[in-house]
């Protein structure tokens, strides 16, 4: 029963006992089991990409009224595997004048930065890498490594388009980190902890109920962090020919590709974990294996929204992107943090003063937070309507009548010499 309800802990204990039985020192056994756990977690993350690529391509196809991949495997589900084999066999091309070590380091960093998030992501009650007490900050911190990968790729490629892509990446990724960090503060205030698994444990009611504004800000700004459409101007094909990854070929390009898909899934998983209760659901406390199911179902549903946004929305211009960040998301996030802190304290104070039961206190808390969030949205968008409303582009010239070519003179009637043929 223990194996069925909680397989990972079971296997971990079995392995520990086995290694101890072989007479290894307990410290060494701890190191070995942790190394195996880290390896398995990282591999799970990477293998997941094989699945998310096909999920995304199928959806992409359906929405564009195509079938999507449909040749290999049932319904084309195995299409990624020949794609992988193809990319393994491609040639590595290092451009002339490239800075070798940063050039080769960049694709690795871009995957590492994402994979490191998985170390703190709780997949189920007992299935997580580690629950450090600064988990939320750690997520922000390892994001910097991915940025570094993009910048290194842009600079080391010795290509002007790549460098432009890197410049855009700095403008976008660094500035969207500000509202993201602020929005992450809200679940920290609500849960009273920074550990990610502790935050999931604190969500008796999903935090989306308490903080819909923060959830939205986190979702949008982490999309910008990934750099996919509508925020894909760091690799805009039509302007800068795929930007920072222009000079990469073969598996090195493949790593960027894997990094992007993994990142897109990871932000969905993070949103599910921080705002939608993560692995929580009926029976997940008693049977951790159920939590795994809930976690992946929630993440996949949010990932669906990520893909829909990618397909449906056109790319933002750079000024629109910066305006969205600095004029809308950042002030809104600042206001949401302050409001949440005040409302939380006031509600807790009154709940204690009136000696409310836990259900009544939760109801009061939820309605107060919801009301505050709705008010915030109304007031904020009332105030900034002028700045955020869609404006007609300035008129730079009056439309002129279409030039009509002068009527061509009627062709002279030419007497064809041949017409007089008998």
């Amino acid at each position: 029963m223990s194996f069925l309800s909680d397989p990972i802990t079971f296997i971990g204990q079995w392995l520990t006992n086995l290694l101890l039985g072989w007479g290894l020192a307990p410290g060494l056994v701890g190191v070995i089991t942790r190394a195996i756990g880290a390896f398995v977690l990282a591999m799970t993350g990477l293998m997941l990409v094989v699945f998310t690529i096909i999920y995304e391509r199928k959806l992409y196809g359906r929405i564009q009224d195509r079938l999507g991949p449909n040749r290999i495997g049932p319904w084309g589900l195995l299409q990624t595997i020949p794609d992988m084999i193809k990319i393994f066999t491609k040639e590595y091309i290092t451009p002339e004048g490239a800075d070798k070590i940063p050039y080769n380091l960049a694709p690795i960093l871009s995957v590492v930065g994402v994979l490191m998030v998985w170390a703190v992501l709780p997949l189920a009650k007992t299935i997580f890498g580690t629950d450090i007490d600064v988990g939320v900050l750690y997520i922000v911190g390892v994001g910097a490594i991915g940025e570094l990968g993009i910048i290194l790729a842009g600079w080391a490629s010795n290509n002007k388009y790549a460098l432009l892509g890197a410049f855009r990446a700095v403008a976008q990724v660094v500035s969207f980190e500000v509202p993201m960090v602020l929005a992450l503060l809200v679940p920290v205030i609500l849960g009273g902890t920074m550990g990610v698994n502790s935050l999931v444990q604190a969500q008796d009611v999903w935090f989306i109920v308490f903080a819909p504004v923060a959830a939205l800000i986190f979702f949008i700004s982490s999309q910008a962090e990934v750099g996919r459409a509508p925020f894909d101007l760091l690799e805009a094909e039509s302007e800068i020919v795929s930007g920072f990854q222009i000079e990469y070929s073969g598996l090195k390009f493949g790593w960027f590709f894997v990094g992007e898909f993994l990142h897109a899934f990871t932000i969905s998983a993070l949103t599910a974990t921080l705002f939608f209760g993560g692995w929580r659901g009926p029976g997940a406390q008693e049977y951790p294996i159920l939590g795994l199911l809930y976690f992946f179902v929630k993440s996949m549903i949010i990932y669906l929204v990520v893909i829909l946004m990618r397909i449906a929305l056109p790319r933002l211009r750079i000024d629109q992107m910066l305006n969205l960040n600095w004029k809308v998301l950042t002030p809104l996030a600042l206001a949401a943090v302050m409001l949440t802190a005040v409302v939380e304290k006031v509600v807790l104070h009154y709940a204690a003063a009136f000696e409310l039961g836990s259900t009544a206190a939760t109801l009061l808390r939820a309605s107060a937070h919801l009301l505050a969030n709705a008010l915030l949205l109304a007031v904020f968008f009332g105030l900034v309507k002028q700045r955020t409303a869609r404006r007609e582009p300035p008129l730079v010239g009056r439309p002129r009548p279409v030039a009509v070519p002068p009527a061509a003179p009627a062709p002279p009637a030419v007497e064809s010499p041949h017409s007089a043929m008998p």
């Binding site: 800075d99 007490d133 600064v134 900050l137 922000v140 911190g141 910097a144």
Partner: protein
């Protein structure tokens, strides 16, 4: 020598080596990258001291913000390569070396005469919530320095806006 000490020695060697490379390498971007390696090493040292908050903040602020802006600024400058910069040292290098040595000597004397330098630290008890303790002490014991630092940062922000403000 336990595994922690081995990790400490490796991290310390990494920090020192990277720091030396920051000032000796001829390529400006490489210098910025070595600076990032050195800052990572410092983050490892924080982890070894059980200061997880500082380790993560070190990465978020120094690597995520400052070092990336460094690289950005360096990429916008000309003469990045090794060929087109002049001599690496200016004529006063011996003065800087002398000052650095004096500083090292002074610090070493102070630390060696400090009694806590030779006493092993008591292990941290696991019951203390370090982050909560840090947060509480920032708004109680160290309230004034904390707020002064905030005011300083706001002043810097306003100054930056003032400098870059385009008067119409």
């Amino acid at each position: 020598m336990g595994p922690l000490q081995i990790i400490f020695l490796l991290a310390a060697a990494l920090v020192l080596g990277a720091a030396i490379l920051v000032v000796t390498t001829r390529n400006l971007v490489h210098a910025a990258l070595w600076l990032i390696v050195a800052l990572f090493g410092v983050a490892v040292l924080y982890v070894l001291l059980n200061a997880s908050f500082f380790a993560v903040v070190q990465i978020v602020i120094y690597i995520g913000a400052i070092a990336i802006l460094f690289i950005f600024a360096v990429m916008l400058t000309r003469r990045i390569g090794a060929k087109d910069i002049g001599p690496q040292n200016n004529p006063n290098w011996w003065l800087a070396a002398l000052l650095a040595l004096l500083m090292l000597g002074g610090l070493a004397t102070i630390f060696l005469s400090w009694p806590a330098f030779n006493t092993p630290l008591p292990p941290l008890s696991n019951q203390v919530d370090l982050i909560a303790a840090l947060g509480k002490s920032l708004v109680t014991t160290y309230l004034l320095p904390f707020e002064l630092a905030s005011v300083l940062l706001v002043a810097a922000l306003i100054g930056a806006i003032f400098v870059s403000w385009e008067r119409k």
